[in-house]
Symmetry: C2
Subunit: 376 residues, 2 copies
């Protein structure tokens, strides 16, 4: 595709180091709202807030970039209202980078409520039954109204499992839709990341990665993984796909983000991760530690005066005991869920930055081996 | 009662000024965990947390003292566990003053689950049906285990409405129980506030206020108001009762705390207030402004870029628009409820401190007249 990308005036990526043994990468992505030190975990703020947390605690967690969901923000509060407020940074008073997804993943998840054509997808809002329509052009308009720094191509997510034919049709449509996204997009202060699809077929993953790679983009995403397959399968397709993506650009693995997934993804050449699980699991009592995953409901913590993790510097760990947080959780106090959300987000951001440090020092393999099994 | 009170070594109250026209009072209560500038609104932290808020935001709200509920903390996490942690300040990592109620009000509210005798009250935990028993001595033990700075006498709260005979029996039992509380209490770093009862009968209120006043306490409470009566009735009994209480000691009106209630209470000579409504109402979308009470769900705020209140310096108002908070609220995001809780608490604390300033400048009547009608 012959096309010069004005986004490069506002965005750039430096690949700072590649770990000698594993190929894991450390870099910096420069954006109009600041730098992102990769590999990085990005907390998800579906409705323009990370659930239960004030921005104060999100900043304090060390978050370098957060996600918003276009599908949700289009339906409520409405992308046009967010545009009236000057975009999502002003809307939610967050001055660091933001990334929005395209809405595609959520729309395709509405299995019985949507109708797909070559032009786009018609769907009903599950809350009120009203009809809506999103196409590549409309997704670009929505994401430009929202105004995130990084926006995602509108892609077709095929169901899991699916046949080679289904996967190929979905991939080809994703490629056609990508070209329409590029044409529809106008704001160079937003970086449009193409998404590589191809489900669980090597030939398609290669074809898709090569297709998106010929587009001079700020960064590239791998979509359609972590949709129900086992970890071994996911890791195969990460490792298989990344060599076909440009080495000098960041790679974003969409919707992935437990500690062990980060280790595998980073080992496979991924730079950016997002996942709702750290906050969702926190609301269900699960928390990360450097010894592995734990459950606050367990009676062993009833009188435990130690923090959630002895080596964590998050607000919850600096201030509260497991016994206190467990009590709040057992009383169904939102403060307990908020403290555990703060912890899990901080933990994963710190975890990604410790991976980064290990990469810079060529000891990522040791880091991987030291920590991987704890989280299984 | 001939009794010297060792609490005066750790607690004292200075009545700094009495408003010339109204008799409203400004003072300072010194406690082992810091000073309280009265009149003061005290946020309620039932389960040893103010609902949805981290301590960071409670400190930032300007809270000078918070409440815990002995009944709830006795059942969960357990007062003995809190004692093992060194008391509620260490348990919840809060280093300013704390006040606990006696548990009486909650136990008496369990109309069908409790049995009252002269010795105490047997009740069942509504959550698991288990039997429990609280007497004046047990309430003191629970409150000493919890370790708040100010603890409350275990009193009998008669139902509303009730006959003169019921009210008299309840009051007399409250007085006998107060004497048992005083005998059972041992820690001089906790100030035990006697509670005046007497329901809605002038003769009983006078008798009860005079009875408690002969006890040399750090402060005194008025209980049994705001239990269903109209505002005029409540205000009559505030105004009728306070003259019988010592002028040189703080007076705490239990369970009361809307802006208009604060104005009436302060005018009637009250110094301390607590209420769950500011946080409960926040969770239901209601917020205070200097123009009166408002409801965030109202469509007029859908595109409103102004803060909840133009003159409020709380975290929510410094950082967010009504439109954004309304969006969070409509999406059922706890962050929206947390922001409105921060606002309502900060507003009421600021409100109480502006009353204080008006008293110090002998213009409380003007302050009252300027603001009262807005909140009705």
């Amino acid at each position: 595709m012959n096309y010069s990308n004005p986004e490069f005036e506002y965005f750039s990526y430096e690949l700072e180091h590649v770990d000698k043994k594993t190929g894991a990468r450390a870099g910096t992505l420069h954006t109009p709202h600041g730098d992102i030190k990769t590999p990085i975990f990005m907390p998800v703020g579906t409705n323009s807030t990370v659930k239960l947390l004030t921005n104060h605690h999100i900043y304090e967690s060390g978050a370098q970039i957060i996600l918003g969901n276009s599908y949700h923000l289009y339906l409520r509060a409405g992308d046009e209202l967010i545009a009236k407020f000057g975009g999502i940074h002003k809307w939610m008073n967050w001055d660091k980078p933001v990334l929005t997804d395209s809405g595609g993943f959520q729309v395709f998840s509405l299995a019985h409520l949507r109708k797909i054509t070559e032009d786009g997808v018609e769907f009903r809002d599950p809350k009120d039954g009203k009809k809506h329509y999103i196409s590549p052009e409309i997704s670009m308009k929505i994401q430009q109204n929202i105004g995130a720094d990084i926006i995602m191509a509108f892609d077709e997510c095929v169901p899991y499992p699916c046949t080679h034919e289904q996967a190929k049709l979905g991939m080809e449509r994703t490629h056609r839709w990508l070209e329409r996204c590029i044409k529809a997009k106008t704001n160079p202060k937003q970086a449009l990341f193409p998404i590589c699809q191809g489900a669980f077929y090597d030939d398609l993953r290669k074809e898709s990665a090569e297709f998106v790679s010929q587009i001079p983009a700020v960064g590239y995403a791998i979509g359609g993984l972590s949709v129900g397959e086992d970890k071994e399968t996911m890791n195969h397709f990460i490792n298989y796909t990344t060599p076909f993506l440009p080495a000098d650009k960041p790679r974003y693995l969409m919707g992935v983000g437990t500690p062990e997934d980060l280790l595998d993804g980073i080992k496979g050449g991924i730079d950016m991760f997002d996942c709702v699980l750290p906050t969702r699991n926190a609301r269900h009592g699960s928390f990360f530690t450097w010894k592995g995953k734990c459950q606050i409901k367990n009676s062993q913590y009833q009188e435990d005066s130690a923090p959630l993790d002895e080596n964590c510097d998050c607000y919850a760990c600096k201030n509260h005991s497991k016994a206190y947080i467990r009590h709040l959780y057992k009383c169904n106090e939102g403060t307990g869920q908020a403290l555990m959300s703060i912890h899990n987000i901080t933990f994963l951001i710190n975890f990604s930055q410790m991976c980064r440090q290990a990469i810079l020092e060529d000891r990522f393999e040791e880091f991987y081996n030291e920590h991987y099994d704890k989280f299984l």
